[in-house]
Structures are given as C-alpha cells and as structure tokens.
C-alpha cells in the first residue's frame, strides 16, 4: 500500500503554544481518510504544514513522495485544497475564481502520473468544462455573483467546485461542508465517493461525524497536537464500549466487580410473581462482552438491548479525557482503557 501522505513526529510551535506535539499521520493512496479532533487540536496546522504554508519545527512530512516545503509548487499541481472558511475577492465573480484556481492547478499544461493515478482526461489546461458545468449545476451555484454577495455556504461551494473539478491526485478538505445545507451535504458526499472511485486520495477534516462515518475508510483522531487513535472505524469500535440495557429476573450478581464494566446503574423494575426484577444499564468494553453477557445470563435475562458504540461516543471519549498520556506504541495508536 503506497502512502499518499506520511507524517511522523511533527512539531510546530507558535510562540509558546505547541500546536503540534509529535503528530503522526498516514494516509494510503486512494483512501478517504477522516481527520478528527477537537477545535484547536492542530488539524488545520497539520494541513497547513502539508501545504507548505507553515514550516514544521521538527519531524517529517511527505505528500506524494515530495517535501511539502521544498517542493511546494510542484506538489500543489497535484493537490487541491478547500479551507473551512473560504474568503473570496469581493469584486470577482464565483465563476472567475473557479477558473482561476483551475488554471493555477494545471499551470497551463496537462500532466498526469504519480500515486493515485486518475482519469485519462484529454484536457490541455484549466478545468474540464463538462465537469465544471456539472458540478455547478449539482451544487446549485450561481457563478455570476460577486464574491462579496455570496453567503457562507455559497462561498464554500465555490471552493468545492474548483477543487472537485481540478485534475489532481490528492484533495485536502478542511471542514469543507461548514455552512452547507443537508441537500448540498448529500451532493458533497456523492462527489467525494466519485473522487475516491477515480482513485484519488482524500484527507477530510470534519466535525460532522455522520459524514465521516459515511465516507471514510480510515480515521485519525488527534488531540493536543498528537494522534491518539488511528485505524478503520471497525478497529476503533472494537477498542470501545458497547452500551447494554437489560432487564433481569433478579439482582445482578458480581456484575459490578467484573473487569470491563463501566457506569453500572441498577434499578428495581417492580415485583412480579417470580421475584424482584432489576433493570441494569452499563457500558462494557467490547472485548470483554463475552464474560459480561455470561454474568448477565446467570441472573436470568428477560430483555436485552445492546448498542454498538457510535462514532460520537468514540469521539466524545477522546475529546473529554483529561490529561491523556501520549501514544502507547510506535504507531501512534493507544489501547483504549
């Protein structure tokens, strides 16, 4: 598996603020990679380092096997970027900006190759007019409006159309859908899938977890400038807790002392002909479920609901943990507690 993006031990400080504190990130060619983390955790800083806008203090960053700082321009031919807050020139129309970015990416020449491959379009420069028109229609963008008259969502669409219409290998999307309505969110998701099907690599930083769950092959969660989790969603789920609600025929014996059970809540659910029923609620570490369920059946299960962890829960756990220690192993992957 070739790496489209490979970042190791990245450090970056702004004065006394350590924005990045040994961050690692691996994105395979052709995958859609979710990049998650609370506000201020260093996502945008990482992206700016990858774009050669900031110079890292320490660590390595490679994209498409190039150095983002030294080879910035050559690299940017093959990379399109959508920032979370698009600022446009007040007196240029959206269409002009889209075409400007298209030409700036291509540099007037048609070239292909490198990791990720792509469609063998026979274009000579700028954007593919058919693709451009199609995207403008799907995003319902009026390209004749001037920059200052666009709403937030429409400014976002200008950047999205420019990026999706560009013939590049890597798309870096930094909270790209902020301000888009749910319909446009759908359009965005189908565009991302199309790009993936064309073999492009996408780094998607987002807070919209349904979007990440829907689109991403793998995710990295960062916090305080470090990677705290990285893997497929299934991997990450395995490391987390399943919510269990059960109605038992009697009191849950020994459940509280079982390893892997968290937040146990026991309530009397009323007296029936066969004794006192109990309702229990808890979270169980997913890899301990077997022992936990065995303990439950000993008390006589009358009803059982179990919910696999949602990305939200996964997310919240990482976001809320206080003073989490650094990565436990070399892969920047920690074992969930």
């Amino acid at each position: 598996m070739t790496k489209a993006i490979s970042v190791a031990g990245l450090h970056k400080s702004f004065g006394r603020t350590h924005a990045l504190d040994g961050l690692d990130l691996e994105v395979a060619a052709g995958e859609v990679h979710g990049f998650l983390g609370p506000n201020g955790s260093g996502k945008s800083t990482t992206i700016r380092v990858l774009l050669g806008l900031l110079r890292a203090d320490a660590g390595t960053a490679r994209m498409l096997d190039m150095d983002p700082w030294a080879d910035a321009v050559e690299l940017h031919r093959r990379v399109a970027y959508v920032p979370g807050d698009v600022t446009l020139w007040r007196n240029l129309s959206g269409g002009e900006v889209i075409d400007l970015y298209g030409r700036l990416h291509d540099g007037g020449r048609s070239r292909r190759g490198g990791a990720g491959g792509g469609p063998g379009g026979g274009r000579t420069g700028g954007l593919d007019p058919a693709r451009r028109a199609d995207l403008i229609e799907r995003f319902e963008l009026d390209p004749t409006k001037k920059g200052r008259t666009y709403s937030k969502g429409n400014r976002q669409k200008v950047a999205l159309v420019a990026a999706f219409a560009s013939d590049v290998d890597v798309l870096i999307l930094d909270e790209p859908t902020s301000g888009l309505d749910p319909l446009m969110e759908e359009v965005f998701q189908s565009c991302v899938r199309e790009e993936r099907d064309r073999g492009r690599t996408i780094l998607l930083s987002s807070h919209i977890l349904s979007e990440v769950e829907e689109l991403c092959d793998r995710v990295s969660i960062i916090r305080g400038g470090r990677t705290v989790e990285s893997g497929t969603l299934a991997d990450l789920r395995h490391l987390t807790r399943t919510s269990v609600t059960a109605e038992l025929a009697g009191p849950p014996n020994g459940l509280a002392s079982l390893p892997g059970v968290h937040g146990l809540d026991v309530q009397e659910a009323g007296v029936r002909h066969d004794g006192v029923r109990c309702k229990v609620r808890f979270q169980a570490d997913t890899d301990r479920l077997d022992a936990v369920l065995r303990s439950l059946t000993d008390s006589g299960v009358r009803s059982l609901t179990s919910t696999p962890p949602t990305l939200e829960e996964l997310f919240l756990r990482h976001y809320q943990d206080e003073d989490r220690p650094g990565p436990a192993d070399g892969n920047g992957k920690t074992v969930a507690r």
Binding site: L53, R55, Y81, G95, D99, L104
Partner: protein, 540 residues
Amino acid sequence: MTATTAPAPGAFAARAGGSRPLAGTGTLLRFALRRDRVTMPLWVGVIALMVLSLPASLKSVYSTPAERADLARQMLANSSLRATYGPVFGDSLGGLTAWRIGGYAGVLAAVMSLIVVVRHTRDEEESGRQELVSAAMVGRRAPLTAALLAALVANGVLTVLVAGGLAGQGASGALALGLAIGATGMVFATMAAIVAQFTQSARLAKGLTGGLVGAAFVLRAAGDSATDDGSSVLTWLSPVGWLENVRAFADERWWVLLLFAAAVAAQGAVAYVLAGRRDMGMSFLPTRPGPATGRLGTAGALAWRLQRGAVLGWSLGFLAAGAAFGGITKGAADLVGGNAKTREIIERMGGQAGITDAFLATMVSMLGMVAALYVVSSVLRLHGEETSQRAEPLLAAAVGRLRWAGGHLVLAFGGTVLIMLLGGLGLALGYGAEYGAVLGACLVQVPAVWTLGGLAVLLYGLSPRIAPGAWAAAGLALLLGWIGPALDLPQPVMDLSPFGHLPRLPGGTMTWTPVVVLTALAVALTAAGLTALRRRDLAT
C-alpha cells in the same frame, strides 16, 4: 457589550419605543477608540507636532519683525505661492504659522477623519463584523454615531493641542486655528459618512472621500491664485478655504466657524437619513453580476485585476495634480526680483537658482513623495491578501510565493514609473514647456520611491505584523520633504529620506550616484524581503 453602559438616551428611547436607535453607542465608541489606540494618537500627534514646531523654526530663519513682514508681503504678492500655501493674513509668528501649515494640517485632519469614519462604518459592514455587533443590544444608529464621535474625539484633541500649544502666540488666534483645523476634519468626517452609504467597498469609500479632499484643496488653490484675500468664490466653495478665511492670528473671523458647524450638521443629517434608508451591508450603488466563467489564469493576472482600479485612480490623480501644479508654476516667474529671503526659501525647496526651475523641482519632488504612498499601498496589498486568508488557497494551488508576490510587485514598481511619468506629463502640459526636462526629473524620483517600496517588501517579508511600519517610513519622508526646507533642518536629518539625496531637477546638475545607489538599495531590500517571505510561515 450591554446597553446598560450606553449613555442612555432616555427620553429618546422612551419615545422610540423598544427600538432605541442609539443604544450601545458609548460601548461602541470606547471600542472604536481602543481599536484605534495606536493609529489615532499617531495621526493627532504628528499633525499637532507639524503645527507646533513651526513658530520656533520660523523665528530662527526670520528673526526680526521686519524680516517677517517682508516675507509676508512677498508671499502674498505671488499668485503661485498663494495657490500653494494660501494668502498671508498676518505677519506675526502665529499668523505665518497659520499661513504656512494651517491648510495642510486641515487636509491631514480631513484624511485622518475620513479613515476613522469609514473604518468604523463601511469597513465593519463589508467585513461582516457589523452583523455580529448589530445583533447585540446595539441601536440602528449607534455604529454611525460612534464612528462620528470617534472622529470628534480625534479632532477635539487635535484642536486642544493646537490651541494650547500655540497659546503663547496669542490665545484667541491659537483657539481659532485649532478650531478651524478640527472643524475641517469634522466636515470630511461627515462627508465620509455620506460616501460610505453609497459604496459597498470601504476602499472605494476612502478613495472617493480622499478625492473630495483633494478637490477641496485644488479649489482653494485655484481661488487663492486669483485673489489675495481669500475672497474668491472657488475658495469659499472649499472647506480648506474656510479654514484660511478664519484668519487665525489676524483679526479672527469667528463667524466662519459657523459655516463649518452648518456643514457638519447638514452632512451628518444626510448621512443619518441615508443610513436609515438602506439595509445593513447594502449600498445605494448596486453591484452588478459578474461573468460566469473567467479568463484569469495566473497569479499575475489576478494581481492586475485586483490593483488595476488603484493604478487607474492614481494615474488620473497624478495627471490632474501635475496639470494643476504646472498651471501654478507659470506664475512663479512673477516673483523674479523679489527679495533675497523669499528667493532663498523657494530655492532651498527647489534646490537651485532658477526660480521657475526651483518651483518645478519642488512640484516634481512633491509628486515623488506622494508616489511613495502609492508604492507602499500597492506592496502592502500582499499583506492584505495574506491576513485576509485569500493568499492561503492561492499558495495551496500551484503558485509559488515568489510568483504570487511578483505579480503585485511588478504593479507596485512598474506603477510607480507610470504614475510619475503621468504626473510629469501633467506638469509639463500645465506649464506648457520643458517636457523632456520635467519627465526626466520625474523619472529621477523613481529610485527613491522604489527604495521605500523595497523597505515595505522587506518589512512584509520579515513579518506581516511589522509590515504597516512602511507607512511610517513613507510618512516620515513626506513630512521631511514638506516642512524640512521651511524649517531649514540639518542635512543629516534630511538625509533620512531617500528623496533628500536626489539631484534637484529640472535646473540642477544631474548626478548619477544617488540614482544608482538608491536603485541598488531598492533591489537589495526587495530581494531580502522576498527571501524572508520564502522562509517564513504564512499568517494563519
């Protein structure tokens, strides 16, 4: 930000029901003053210093009352000098101060005021910040009121400084001059408030109001070249003309101040009415839709697209200003045979013997110093593009930093040549002769302008935070060039300005050394700035 801190317009609020149009004005005013805590004292301080430093230096050059009376007589007799400085109404030190600097101080107060007002009204709306502020408990008229009050504070402090600082020359004259300068500022503050209702762009609002300030100056100059007592209709059409007609230190005409008051009240009322008739962020000049597809394809083309309006405006301005100056110069020959002192001050400004050439040379160097403002504003477009985050996606596309910056720098440095040539052309046309000499003299100014441009590139390249320092450098050069000759400042001080090193042309001897050295310096500064830009982080 709560309405409780506002100077509650109690009765007003009660009558207007729940809308309370002025709620929050006090908070907004304090906020505006805090935002301007560096620039506003700088403006006020520099203008006050210009005025207050004059009596002492005038005294050192013209030490006896007889000499000063002689100067006043000569200056009043010549129409070109009247056009430049206005008529002399009194030959006391105070009277000569008001004559020499009053009008210019008024123009600077006007520029300061229009910047303050547009910055806190249209700029806020254009950037979208106003939306957040207006969503708080802020009355519909509070932002405009706060902006005008901020201008009033600046002009008020300036008035007090001038009136207090010159009190030694005569208390009532000092008060009259201070009030006239401050009132000129307020007239243009309210004018800016009107203009800001018409455009959606703050930059355009500042440019248009700045043009009106220039027009006011030209009207006064034209009127004063025709009459020697400020009585021309043209002079009376200009607020800068009213300023001189207050006749500070020469039997003050206090009633003229009522004109200022009336203009401020009328313009302020118009601004409030207009502001009340439009939606936030909208303007009376509509925005037209643009093309659905664009032909812009390079960073250079984008830079041209962004700067072409400014280049055009400066070009026309320089052509017009040159023509006006050239017309004035024609009359300078009348002065031949004037007394030695007068000749001396003009020749010191122009730097050589021929009085006409000296005058032309003065105008050429004025154009050069004003062109420094162009080059700084043009170079600092880079700064604006970067801090507004518009540079980021461009540089994330296949555009190198050098190519991105280069597009703007070509316009900054090339534009300098263009506007200097047009200024020279206007000057020669207005004067009606000496085309080659004047155009050549204008080109000789270019390396000095470039040096300031190079300094701007260096400061910007090092860090966006210090980039605005380039304005201070251009301002210093302008200040030295304006008042240096009249104050007879020592050469080492004058040498701080790159313009101080240039040969005085036309009329003087052409020396290539400063031209070559300054060009090399400009290139070196630019190269150093670009190198620094390549190495640093982009502002985020």
